[in-house]
């Protein structure tokens, strides 16, 4: 006779609940600033995320996440709107942080801190400071980058570039890090560090882009500042949000649908466009992305708690097409693709992560529910591709086989502003920006945009970094 166990509630859940230190703190009632409201996100009403009858697959996922990490953080909650993606994301992050790899665990968290600090993302910095200590890291390091070992400090330069101007990374940077010496990196370590850095840069984008609230009980010793400094600056935005956005918003959706149809039809006829025209369109889009920079670029006070992990805080995103500066050549997507080159390289140096990243990119690129706002059964591939390619365009990556005129047609200006801001200087994202684009769309769709953004940004930075590594190796 055989005995089989029937599947039921994950065992040990209760115990873990009890022992979660953070839960305990929550009970003790750390003061949560009232304007942040409740729920995982400052932008999205809590009810949207914490629906009662969430489908079982998603709940299963959340339980899994909870069991493996001892908590379900707000990021997970928000990403949970897209369970298919969440599972892929989780696997990757789990591998990066908790599975065997060239780097010791505490250093991984420290690198995460460094990366998140570049975008002044207190949320992630706080989260990983805790994790860092739990992994047995030296508390002294948390006083600032100057207290960390030289080896980690050497990573600062590449961290800075990856976060703000990845196209500036050259093989010399890689060479400098790998140069044999006391504080040198091994290639495998460096690749893990690069993946970690890009992962956390883009995750910071997500945090700001979705207005993720600080964890309950997470104060990180920096006071309860909201993660995005501007989220409280626009109380009026509240009014213009909501589905009551009026007929304007509905009309916008209809217009978008029309344009998509138009593009689809015209694609078959449109042959008269010359190559020059195409090239110009890309350049146009690049230059235009200059103009969509957020207007309220007021220098806000840098937060000292995060600042200690940052050197050269003034360094930020600069449009590489800006006059005066020598513009590096446009990155041709076909010459160094993730599928062919990036994957092959990463799979060689840090095997498992290549597979997972590949899967994650594919999931996010193909993720669709065939809906647009209130319409169902819509082929959204064109829209998704426009967003993806626009993010890459912002980072200077050009696809030969894409007509950048489409971006102009499909992405309204407020969306472009949002994408550009979240991708390049996420710390400047405001609730107003979030509210202003796609006013009639569901929040889950906006989160979807954020996921595309996250992954496109990750891939762009990773491609630049890996290309430099390849050049170093040849």
């Amino acid at each position: 006779m055989l005995v089989a166990g029937s599947q039921c509630c994950p065992p040990g859940l209760e115990e873990r609940l009890g022992c979660g230190a953070l839960r305990g703190e929550e009970d003790r009632g750390i003061a949560v600033p009232p304007q942040l409201g409740r729920g995982p996100s400052a932008f999205i009403p809590a009810e949207e995320i914490l629906q009662e009858g969430i489908e079982s697959s998603r709940r299963q996922l959340l339980i899994e996440a909870f069991v493996s990490a001892g908590r379900v953080d707000n990021i997970t909650m928000v990403m949970g709107l897209h369970p298919q993606y969440l599972s892929s994301f989780w696997k990757t992050q789990y591998l990066l942080l908790r599975m065997d790899g060239p780097l010791p665990y505490h250093k991984r968290h420290y690198i995460a801190i460094m990366a998140a600090a570049r975008h002044q993302c207190t949320y992630l910095v706080g989260l990983h400071m805790g994790e860092f200590l739990q992994a047995g890291g030296n508390p002294a390091w948390l006083q600032g980058l100057h207290c960390a070992p030289q080896k980690l400090r050497n990573l600062n330069e590449i961290n800075k570039l990856l976060a703000h101007r990845p196209w500036l990374i050259t093989k010399e940077h890689i060479e400098a890090l790998l140069k044999t010496g006391e504080h040198s990196w091994s290639l495998a370590e460096l690749v893990q560090a690069l993946v970690l850095l890009t992962h956390y840069h883009s995750l910071a984008s997500f945090v700001f882009g979705c207005g993720i609230n600080p964890e309950a009980g997470q104060d990180g010793g920096h006071g309860c500042r909201p993660p995005s400094p501007h989220s409280d600056s626009s109380p009026t935005a509240e009014d213009s949000t909501g589905c009551s956005g009026g007929r304007d918003a509905v009309r916008e959706v209809e217009a978008l649908m029309e344009r998509m149809q138009l593009l689809r039809d015209s694609q078959r006829e449109e042959e008269g466009v010359t190559q020059e025209e195409m090239a110009t369109r890309f350049e146009m889009e690049k230059t235009e992305s200059l103009l969509v920079a957020p207007s309220d670029v007021t220098e806000h006070a840098l937060q000292s708690g995060v600042l200690c992990f940052v050197e050269d805080p003034e360094f930020g995103y600069k449009d590489f097409t800006r006059r005066g500066e020598q513009a590096p050549p446009t990155f041709r997507a076909q010459d160094y693709t993730w599928e062919d080159h990036g994957f092959s390289l990463i799979n060689r140096l840090y095997p498992d992560v290549g597979q997972l990243l590949d899967e994650k990119f594919q999931v996010v690129y193909n993720l669709t529910y065939n809906t647009i706002a209130m319409h169902c059964g819509v082929d959204t591939s064109m829209l998704r591709r426009a967003i993806w390619n626009y993010v890459h365009c912002v980072f200077g990556i050009r696809y030969d086989d894409y007509d950048y005129g489409e971006v102009n047609q499909l992405l309204e200006r407020s969306l472009k502003v949002y994408i550009k801001t979240v991708a390049c200087y996420p710390e400047k994202t405001t609730k107003r920006m979030y509210a202003q684009f796609w006013r009639h769309f569901k929040h889950s769709e906006k989160v979807h945009v954020n996921l595309l953004l996250l992954e496109a940004r990750l891939q762009a930075a990773l491609l630049y970094a890996l290309r430099a590594v390849t050049r170093y190796m040849t």
Binding site: M1, A4, Q7, M278, D400, D401, M473, T474
Partner: protein, 926 residues
Amino acid sequence: MGAAWLGAWPEEWAWPGEGAWLDTALSSLSVAPEGAGLSGSGRGVGRRGLRGSCSRRGCGTRGDGRLRGVNPWYQVSFGLSASHAVDANPEHPGAVPTPGPALAEGTRGGRWGLDAACGAASLRARSQRVDPAPRTAMEKMARVSTALGGNTLTGRTMFCHLDAPANAISVCRDAAQVVVAGRNIFKIYSIEEEQFVEKLNLRVGRKPSLNFSCADVVWHQMDENLLATAATNGVVVTWNLGKPSRNKQDQLFTEHKRTVNKVCFHPTEVYMLLSGSQDGYMKCFDLRKKDSVSTFSGQSESVRDVQFSIRDYFTFAATFENGNVQLWDIRRPDRYERMFTAHNGPVFCCDWHPEDRGWLATGGRDKMVKVWDMNTTRAKEIYCVQTIASVARVKWRPECKHHIATCSMMVDHNIYVWDVRRPFIPSAMFEEHKDVTTGIVWRHLHDPYFLLSGSKDSTLYQHIFKDASQPIDRANPEGLCYSLYGDLAFAAKESLISSDSNRKPYIGDRRHPIFFKRKLDPTEQFEYISSSSALSVFETDVESGSMDWFVHTAKQYALAGRPLAELCDHNAKVAKGLDRNQVAQTWTMLRIIYSSLGTVSSTNLNHSMGKGSTTLPLMNSFNLKDIPSGLGSESRLDRSKGESRTENILMDSSSTLINNEDNEETEGSDVPADYLLGDVEADEDDLYMMDHENPHAEEQEYSLPQEAFPLRHEIVDNPSALDHLQDKADSPHVSGNEAETVSLTPVESFSLISISHSLYENRLPSDFFNPIVRDTLLFYAEQGDVQTAVSVLIVLGDRIRKEIDEQTQEHWYTSYIDLLQRFQLWNISNEVIKLSTCRAINCLNQASTTLHINCSNCKRPMSNRGWICDRCRQCASMCAVCHHVVKGLFVWCQGCSHGGHLQHIMKWLETSSHCPAGCGHLCEYT
């Protein structure tokens, strides 16, 4: 290069299940540094050596080292050895490096390539063959010419600089011209005798157009004026060289929405062109028409390659990014003929065999080249070559049925020519390029000696086969491997084995007469004359090689659940029962050390002592102290000579002695067999060290030493022990058991001390002995007996855990668990996992704990809950007794598959022997 291949060396190295022994038994071996040094030098010096070795090819004295058809159990393949260090040193042909521990380590999973003895032997043999005269450049450039039915190809290895990186190349039918295409280049070169000459630049016009940015180019094999390119922006362009104007562009097809990855002309039909694109479509064009004739939808991700079958007029193959290969009939655009998954990840390329109509070679991102036989109804994988990087292109070599050229997408810049039957080592390689090779093409359809290649390093090369480097030169076709049961297989070139005069014939050497003569392939330029190998298998004595003791011990040991003293006693008894006296003593000692603190009475002690030392009178311990000292010095000397070799065989003192001797014999080494005593002596040193310490510490208070020593006169009473021992020392053929008895004696002295010590032990901190226990464990582990080490570790738990660093512990645990699993002792291995205190080990049985179950009604997997099927909305597992859903343990009869609650079924079967469901089956409950 050497380094890279070393890493990728064949899997067949391993005996089925040898790993654990090697891992544990050889853990002390200092091989890795040598291995590293070896691979390090491979690149720098290896090149020169290679040139030096080129000239030897004429003599044709290289062994091919092929081995096949071996009994799979004894399957051994060949790898690189340290001996290429000799090849790499043409300046000093006479110098034979000192035969150090020439071990090469396959980097995967710590597999062991070569044995020191083989290495040394081959060093000797090889050094004589090194040609002192380095080959001159002139010689190298010597012309090659081959007759091709009147059309003669001549040329040399040569290259030319292109202005920009190339993406693809293609040759004209007459083999006199080559076209190079890339993002910023599109030119035709003619291949002259001495050089490439630029004939035509097809990029005309001021403004750069994306239509010129080529991902692929193909030259028609029927019409030498016709070319087609695939552009990165999705345009397919045809070119007519016969046009009078400067612009040769002929047609423009802008039907694909995404980058076109590949274009292909029909081999016999002039106007038929096929394209495959990133958008997932393949299109067939008739060049006489403006639009495509038909569109094929792969219904999946991007198409990476399309190739018309050479023989089947209507068939073409397409490869996809998701790993699939599809076969299409050009007349049926609605559906593919067949599809199969060829690779994990994108399939970058494919190529039909020029002669064998059914063979298709594919190359993928998973670093594999696979050859498929398509003649059968299911595509059958007949060959598989594992390379070291993703495969970008594959091209069958003309006139050589089994040869195929490959180049890779990333990292690796070389071009390899493989014999698919021999997948572990490329038969030739071209190392000229400095960046990845993007295009390879054989210059002529019927000439196997000229290969053209374009690369990202902006060069175009013509490679002559004669100048290829042959990795086989640097490989040493010798292999050595252990089986789980201690058998040893050794394969080498036959000539090497027979020529070694130092070899003594050994009776135990049951050499299997499996030799191979390879038939000479007339099409091959290089003659493989000596190509036979010999495989020797040395079987260990059934008795000594038997691992029964391991299995028994594992089964009988008690590791937890009882007080320490009982556990130790029990385990000591187990060890004793298996004649492992030393281990038994260790357990007894441990009990005394850790559990006797104030609780164990002295009678108890005496009892256990008597148990442990029944074979020898107590007092032997003290005279023995003198005897082994002589042995000790000798064995130390031995160790300095042969440690690395002896230790890798030393798994357990009792089981491997004979095995070891076997090896010594075959190696012709003169290491005495009694080194074992030396090892024990090391242990003894520790014991005596303690011996000195303890009495000193207590001397003031207790006059114990005096109490213990006056018994010395009994030595005389028992002279037999002494004789006995000396006998052994002289005899080179000590049996394992005898040796063990000897080694035990010093332990006696220890237990004596312990006993006396028990009188004052209360004053000692409990961790006083920890360093010694730690050393003991280390000693056992070093000896290869992780079983003892791990068992003690578990039994003692926190008492000793902190003394040994986490990593070592983890290493022991993994080794032991691995061993247990090899012997299929699953339950025990699980118990060990559970009892371990290492985090890494503990979580071993927390991984993949999901149990997938299928619904008993619809046979589909059940998703979230175990008892209700989402599909058929029925409760799947009903109790046959109470007819309720079983939500916990479900017990069922394997005979009739009825079951239910454990309690209910048990109760039912107490009274009835028939199935409760009423099916009439006689259920059994055990």
